[in-house]
Structure formats: structure tokens, C-alpha cells
């Protein structure tokens, strides 16, 4: 019995979605739990797993095409089974859509003929597969096998040699390959090609999209941290008693931002088409790294929840990210993002806005800094906060007002009461 594969609903308000990239091809054998395809929501890359073991047939969603949630995009069949008729194979549909008939089979190359067409080259299936995945033109690869057949080792060797002449591994057909040049083995240059993970690829696309569409500007402020440090010192034992976890500076800042943002609705807003979307809730995304992958879990309604709740919530989100058990609902719906690199010793930085949000707050480290006060130079703990804004929604004055309120709240956290 063929099992249908549908475009799942991974977010509460999701009505349509798109297969971002298929990870299997027509006819592939899969086991239940194997990744079939990636979908992208407005916040996260999600891998969709096979609901059953069997053969993938009747792939009926082109990459990137928007489809209603619940659309059948493929079937998992028994080896000798065909999918139900309504899911025609994608190629057939494509031909029909293009008004054409299926292309006639290519005439076979005459035996022994040497052609420059890759299909007529002698190469093993694995070598062809590898060349495709590395974006290598097989015609450039010398074959070491019988009668000049190209084997996978030849492709590997060629990929290594290419590094010395080709400066960059580019993007081809949407597949971005990161190159990491290393000098090993007696100075012989070698490239290590590591495909981006699904999360990295989505993050890359979203960041490019953000920089391309949102005119960024940044405002910075040095803010004295003593009051917040004192508050945290007083609260920490109590919160730790309740939750078992010490509240981080980031959680305090999320709570403060949650308190402030209802009064800065454009900074809490998002650009959607020709209009600005103003959100009733303040949902604070926290930038988190997982083995080189940027993830932004969201603290929902951060302004209405206690520090203890937020502390426990962020700990849960971090653990689920670590365990790769995070649900899309926890990665979506953010209205503002905080990125704190202070713990790495960064003094200040400006971040790229997490689209479609309109601003992101970058937090540097707290440093004992000499400042002038009442005619004296005194040392005060101080941190630099930088707000990157989308100038389409937020102008300099709005950004400045937010920073003024942020300074007030951090230097006098009692205003939160």
C-alpha cells in the first residue's frame, strides 16, 4: 500500500509552503525516518522525513513551487508498486505543462566513438555522480581506468588539483559549496569541500535576502551595566532555586526588550510587501550557534513572562537545539532578535537583520570603563549595544528613541516594575 508524503504544516499559521530541496530522487529506496526533502518556512529550515520505508515514486512538487499545506508531494511505494494515478511523475507533468511531448530517446553513440558529450564519456556511475555533486565537468577529467574510463578517484584527484587553479568554489544550480583551502601533504594545496547543511543554506539565503532588500543602518550606545549586574545578582539565587538555572544577561535583556517593544511598534514590526505589519505580541529571537549553524529560537511574549519562566524557556530551547529536537514552532514567529557575543569578548558589532523583522540588537561584552562623573574619572562596567534597523520601517529617530529607553531600562531596571 503506497504511503503518501504530504507537505506538512509546520507552523500554526502556515497555509502554503514549498519544497526547498529534494534529498531523494524518483525511484530511490528510503527507510522510514530518512530525510526526503527540506521545506523552508519564514524562519527555519525543516527536514521532512519519510513516513515509511520503500521506494520514492510520483514526486509531484518542483523545488520552490508554492503549494497548499497537505498537498501530496510524493509516495512511498513497495518495490513493485506504482503510486495512485493522480500523482503523475513530475517530469511527465512538466512536459505536459510545457505543451510538449516526452522527448524521444537519444540515439545511442556509435560503439567506440569518442565524443565530447559527457554522456558518451567513459565514466563509472559513481564518478558521474561525484562529478555532478562537485560541479566538475567530466570532459576535463583524465580517466585512469580501462580504455580511459573515469573512476571516482579520478574525479577526487581532479577536484584537488582544481583548487590550485580555481580561486573559488562557486554556487551552481543553487547548490552552494563551501571551500576550505588547506595546505597539507608536503605543501600540496588541497580543497576540502563541505556542503552546507540545510540550516546553513537557509540561513545563507535569508541573510543575503536581508542585506539585499533591507537598507541597514546601525545606532550604538554605551550603556552602564552596574544596575543590571546588581539586579541579576539579587535575582539569580531565587531564580536558580525555582528553575535550577541561573538567569543569563541575555534573558534579562530579552525581558527588558519585551517590556520596551510594545511602545516601539515599528521596531517590533515587519515588512510584508508594501505594508508594515505591527505585531501585538513581542516575541524575542535569541541567536544561538550549534556547530557552526545559526539558529534563532524564539521566546514568545517575552514582555509578559517572568524572568524565571524566560530562563527555563531559553534553557529548554537551547537543549532542544543541542539535541536536534527543536520544533519549527519554536523557531518561528519572532518579532525582534537579540544577538549577544559579549561572552566571546566582542566589544561591539552590528548584526544583519533577521527578515522579515525590522531590527536586531547586537550586544557586546561588559568592560570596566573609565568615565567622567562629577568631575572625577571613575570605572564603571559598560557594554556597547548596537541596533541594526531596516530603514524602510525604522528611521534614525525611532531607533534613537528605542536606544534611549533601552539605556533607561538597563541603567534603572526598576522602571520594569
Amino acid at each position: 500500500m503506497a504511503v503518501e508524503v504530504i507537505l506538512p504544516k509546520v507552523d500554526m499559521d502556515m497555509e502554503t509552503g514549498a519544497v526547498h530541496a529534494w534529498k531523494v530522487r524518483e525511484g530511490d529506496a528510503v527507510r522510514a525516518g530518512d530525510v526526503l526533502f527540506e521545506i523552508s518556512t519564514n524562519k527555519a529550515a525543516m527536514e521532512v522525513e519519510a513516513p515509511a520505508s520503500g521506494i520514492v515514486r510520483g514526486i509531484a512538487a518542483e523545488e520552490g513551487a508554492t503549494l497548499p499545506v497537505g498537498t501530496i508531494v510524493a509516495w512511498i511505494c513497495a518495490p513493485d508498486e506504482q503510486p495512485p494515478a493522480r500523482a503523475e511523475p513530475a517530469e511527465v507533468r512538466a512536459h505536459v505543462a510545457a505543451g510538449g511531448s516526452p522527448a524521444p530517446a537519444k540515439p545511442a553513440a556509435p560503439a567506440g566513438a569518442i565524443s565530447r558529450e559527457p554522456s558518451a564519456l567513459r565514466a563509472t556511475p559513481l564518478a558521474r555522480r561525484l562529478a555532478t555533486s562537485l560541479g566538475i565537468d567530466l570532459r576535463q577529467v583524465p580517466g585512469s581506468g580501462p580504455r580511459g574510463r573515469i573512476v571516482s578517484d579520478d574525479v577526487d584527484r581532479h577536484a584537488g588539483e582544481m583548487q590550485s587553479t580555481v580561486a573559488s568554489a562557486g554556487a551552481r544550480n543553487g547548490a552552494v559549496i563551501a571551500a576550505d583551502a588547506r595546505v597539507i601533504e608536503a605543501g600540496r594545496p588541497r580543497v576540502r569541500r563541505v556542503p552546507l547543511t540545510a540550516v546553513q543554506r537557509i540561513a545563507a539565503q535569508r541573510l543575503v535576502e536581508s542585506v539585499r532588500t533591507a537598507p541597514h543602518f546601525a545606532v550604538s550606545a554605551h550603556i552602564e551595566m552596574q544596575a543590571l549586574i546588581d539586579l541579576r545578582a539579587r535575582l539569580a539565587p531565587r531564580i536558580e532555586e525555582q528553575t535550577g538555572i541561573r538567569p543569563s544577561l541575555t534573558v534579562l535583556l530579552a525581558r527588558i526588550a519585551g517590556h520596551l517593544l510594545p511602545r516601539h511598534e515599528r521596531i517590533n514590526g515587519s515588512m510584508e510587501g508594501e505594508s508594515v505589519c505591527l505585531h501585538g505580541d513581542v516575541n524575542i529571537g535569541i541567536a544561538v550557534d550549534r556547530d557552526g549553524e545559526l539558529m534563532v529560537p524564539v521566546l514568545k511574549r517575552a514582555g509578559e513572562r517572568s524572568l524565571a519562566e524566560l530562563t527555563a524557556e531559553l534553557a529548554r530551547l537551547r537543549k532542544e537545539i543541542e539535541d536536534r529536537a527543536i520544533r519549527p514552532a519554536d523557531l518561528t514567529g519572532g518579532t525582534f532578535t537579540i544577538s549577544n557575543l559579549g561572552m566571546y569578548g566582542v566589544d561591539s558589532f552590528s548584526a544583519i537583520i533577521n527578515p522579515p523583522e525590522s531590527a536586531i540588537l547586537a550586544v557586546g561584552r561588559t568592560v570596566a570603563t573609565p568615565v567622567g562623573r562629577d568631575g572625577q574619572i571613575v570605572l564603571v562596567p559598560r557594554a556597547t549595544f548596537t541596533l541594526s534597523c531596516d530603514h524602510r520601517l525604522v528611521d534614525g529617530v525611532l531607533a534613537a528613541r528605542f536606544m534611549r529607553d533601552l539605556r533607561e531600562a538597563i541603567e534603572h531596571p526598576e522602571v520594569l516594575i
Binding site: R25, G27, D28, A29, T124, P125, L126, A127, R128, R129, G145, P146, R149, V151, S152
Partner: protein, 340 residues
């Protein structure tokens, strides 16, 4: 009866392939009154290869039955007994003689369950000593298992170890369908660990005998042993061969083979039956048709029996079927030169 059994851990001891089969028969007959063994010289004489041994004396002439020399008659009796509720185990003295019983095996045993809409089944086991190497010449040395693996409705197994001989025979006796067990005459005296208690080796499941990364060698029956020995020699020259003992020809365990070839990128099949239209062709085609095709980095190669009636001359007889050296050479050629 000489006792060749050696203690070998808790409940497991070393015994020969023939003893393992005898033990399976005895345990099946003890457990189930419907099980009986019959065939030419299986009784008083103890079997042409000594497999049934003392079973005649232990279970009596009603359950270990010497028969006339008439394979078609025996097979017909076996099918009839199976349909009427018995669990017959038929020994065909040399597997070559099954040609005389083709009508009953192929046209009756394999089809009755289907043609009667499932109302009848044929829980029949046929034991078939096959293979060359004993100087028994062209009519007593063949490996005809592929003929039967071609027939829907039959199951075909080929144990290569004492452990699998016992486990597959017990599984075959349990099975409600006709199962043909091709035993290898040269394996009867080989020894290995065998649990004392009854157990089953699942029909349809191959065994990975040795893990490797450079090539998958799929072998059947005694060829699995030769492939293992070859793999050991090849390891010394830096070639890591994975050896899969197919164990069951029908239904064939494709996933185990596919998973291995996906990893090693190369496939050699080794079987004693004549190379053309044999097991190796089937395994090769399954891989070539599957998604594993894209993972092949060399042609698929077959190593099978020569295209001749098996010679009586011992040197020629040996040359007519794959030997350990042939497997070593074929693997080297595939891995080093990329040639089948």
C-alpha cells in the same frame, strides 16, 4: 556412531555440517509426529553421504523410509503427504536426479497453493546434495539451484555452514511452502559451532560473513567459504573485501546486498552453477536496476562455473568451478584495474 562432537561454550559445540542436518531432522521428528524422512538409502544404509546416519534406528522404519529408485514417484508421494497434513522431508540422493521429478516440484508443489485459492498448501522439504569436487562426474556434480530459484512458489536455500544447515532446515520444516535445500557434498565434513537446542535461521536473510570497504563479494554455498578465504588473503595486500553469503536464493535478500554495494562501490558474484543465466546474473541485474547503480565505480563481475558438463578428470573438474585463487584474481582485477 562415532562421536565427533566437541564442547564449545554454553549450549554450543563444534559439529559437522552432516551432523547438524541430522540433529535438525531428529529434533524436528521428536517435536512433531508429522515429520518424516524418506529417500533412496536414507534408512538402513544411513544415506549416501551418511547424513541420516542412525535416524532409522532411532525413529524406526515408519518415519525414516527407504524408497525405490523413482524420483518422480517419491516427489509425488511427498507432495501428496504434504497436502494431506504431513511434513515430509525428501532426500534426493544426488541433486542432479531432481531432473526426474521436475513435474511434481515445478508443476505441482510450487503451484497447488495458488491454483486452489490457498485451500491447500505443500509444506514439503527437499534436501538436495549438490556441487562438484568429489569426482562424481557430469551427472552427479551439478549445481542446479538457479533452475528452482526461477519458480514462484518455491523457496530455495543453500546453507554454507553447519550452523546454517541446521537452522535453515528447521526453518524449512516449519515453512508451509515447498522449500528446496541445496546442500554441498564437500561441506558435509566441514565443522563449525552449532547450538544444541533447536533454532531457526530465517529464510530470505543473507549473512555478511566479513565486512569490507573496497568490494562486495556475493557468494553462495561453498563459494562463501572460498570467498572468505580469498578475502583474508586480499586483506594482506590492502584490499578490503566484504563477503556476503546469500544463504537463500529465493526470496533473495536484496537489501543486504544493496546496502553493501552502496558502501563498497564494486560487486563480484561467485557461484558454482554454470555462469550463464545463473544466480550472479540475477544479483547483478538487481543492483544495475536499482538506485545503487549510481554508486558503482567499476563493472559488475560474475565468477561462475564453466560452460561445460562437469569433467570427471579431477584437474579439469577443479578448473571448471571457481576456486579461491580465481576469486582473489577476480577481486584484484576489479579493484586494481577496474576490469570485470
Amino acid at each position: 556412531m562415532p562421536n565427533e562432537i566437541v564442547a564449545h561454550g554454553a549450549g554450543v559445540r563444534e559439529c559437522s555440517y552432516a551432523e547438524a542436518i541430522r540433529e535438525a531432522l531428529a529434533q524436528a521428528m521428536e517435536a512433531d509426529g508429522r515429520v518424516f524422512l524418506f529417500g533412496e538409502d536414507v534408512g538402513v544404509y544411513g544415506g549416501a553421504f551418511g547424513v541420516s546416519g542412525d535416524l532409522f534406528h532411532r525413529f524406526g522404519p515408519e518415519r525414516v523410509i527407504d524408497t525405490p529408485i523413482s524420483e518422480l514417484g517419491l516427489a509425488g508421494a511427498a507432495v501428496g503427504a504434504a497436502i494431506t497434513g504431513m511434513r515430509p522431508v525428501l532426500e534426493i540422493q544426488f541433486s542432479d536426479f531432481i531432473t526426474l521429478a521436475m513435474e511434481q516440484v515445478v508443476n505441482q508443489a510450487a503451484k497447488i497453493h495458488f491454483m486452489f485459492g490457498g485451500k491447500a498448501s505443500v509444506p514439503l522439504v527437499i534436501r538436495l546434495p549438490g556441487g562438484s569436487g568429489t569426482g562424481a562426474a557430469a551427472q552427479h556434480s551439478q549445481s542446479l539451484e538457479a533452475w528452482f530459484a526461477h519458480v514462484p512458489g518455491l523457496k530455495v536455500v543453500q546453507p554454507s555452514t553447519p550452523h546454517d544447515a541446521k537452522g535453515l532446515l528447521l526453518a524449512a520444516i516449519d515453512d508451509p511452502n515447498p522449500v528446496l535445500i541445496f546442500e554441498h557434498k564437500l561441506l558435509y565434513k566441514t565443522k563449525g559451532p552449532v547450538p544444541v537446542e533447536p533454532y531457526r535461521v530465517p529464510i530470505g536473510k543473507a549473512a555478511v560473513r566479513r565486512e569490507g570497504t573496497d568490494i562486495t563479494v556475493v557468494a553462495t554455498s561453498i563459494m562463501a567459504l572460498r570467498a572468505e578465504a580469498a578475502a583474508q588473503r586480499l586483506a594482506a595486500e590492502g584490499i578490503s573485501a566484504e563477503v556476503i553469503d546469500l544463504r537463500t536464493l529465493r526470496p533473495i535478500d536484496f537489501p543486504t546486498v544493496a546496502e553493501s554495494v552502496r558502501k563498497t562501490h564494486r560487486l563480484l558474484t561467485v557461484y558454482e552453477g554454470v555462469k550463464t543465466m545463473g544466480i550472479g546474473a540475477e544479483v547483478s541485474a538487481m543492483i544495475a536496476e536499482s538506485e545503487v547503480f549510481d554508486f558503482l565505480d567499476a563493472p559488475i563481475a560474475r565468477l561462475g562455473g564453466a560452460e561445460v558438463p562437469l569433467p570427471y578428470n579431477p584437474a579439469l573438474e577443479k578448473a571448471a568451478v571457481p576456486q579461491e585463487d580465481d576469486i582473489v584474481a577476480a577481486v584484484r582485477r576489479l579493484v586494481r584495474e577496474g576490469e570485470a
